[in-house]
Point group: C2
Chain length 163, copies 2
């Protein structure tokens, strides 16, 4: 019979009145949609680039943050890059397995630990940074600098509305 599925006649059923009273916004009308699509897109490109060095985007973020911060406690790191402590633990574990990061007890409060890049990790950061620069340029280079600044400002506001 090839009976029509329930939704098949939807448009016709909604008719004129419904079409007016019930104007559903399209998928593409939401900025969140484009944000998700673009982010996935860009992230995958970055993953490919970093993959040559066996590092993932999230791992890169941890490494880059450590590079600037020096040895810090996991909780501090989590706060800086906006992740939970559990998420940081997992990323750090992976980086430790790759000998890019080390963990040690701090001298004072024994509950605290200290995370730091290893020599190999610190050495790798500039190389990775260049890949990230290139990836970012490839993705956004066509956008005028002024527009990029506008976008960055807007995205920052979204994440930290308190600022």
């Amino acid at each position: 019979m090839t009976r029509k599925p329930a939704a098949l006649g939807r448009r016709a059923n909604r008719g004129v009145a419904a079409a007016v009273s019930d104007p559903i916004s399209p998928l593409e009308a939401h900025l969140g949609y484009w944000l998700r699509v673009a982010s996935n897109h860009v992230d995958q490109q970055l993953a490919r680039a970093l993959g040559a060095h066996g590092v993932t985007p999230a791992e890169w973020v941890v490494m880059r943050a450590l590079y600037d911060a020096g040895p810090v406690a996991p909780s501090v790191l989590a706060g800086r890059i906006g992740l939970t402590r559990g998420a940081v633990t997992k990323l750090v574990d992976r980086l430790r397995a790759k000998a890019l990061v080390v963990r040690a007890h701090g001298p004072g409060d024994r509950r605290y630990q200290i995370i730091a890049l290893t020599g190999a990790g610190a050495k790798l950061v500039p190389a990775l940074a260049q890949l990230v620069d290139e990836s970012d340029s490839a993705a956004f280079g066509a956008i005028p600098a002024e527009t990029r600044a506008t976008i960055e400002a807007a995205l920052r506001r979204i994440v930290a509305p308190a600022d």
Copy 2:
């Protein structure tokens, strides 16, 4: 001893010359970074809102696309929302388990299948659409409309540079 980890003296070691010749761009300098952070942020908010109806953001995208497209083949759907066929199969499977979508054989080429919303699925879409509207407004409402348009245009270009 509390020996310093390898990276501890990094800054001092790099010194003046290195600081000039080797200026690594900060994490926050990359638009890709903010895109990822903001996208995760917004996506989680949306997930919370849609979660009340047992639907995930990715599932919503499929439902919304079906709502407009009517019954279509999985491959067509995949093309429209920019996913692989495998990914679409998985999402559709989940939606079928929730009785929001049905799958049937098309009349012609037996390789083709047809995906369509069920009555329940079609009925749910407008309600979800409103949640998505609200979520999008909550996330981006503070951004001027003009800026939003600029951002959307830029993101579109990133995803489809061929356009």
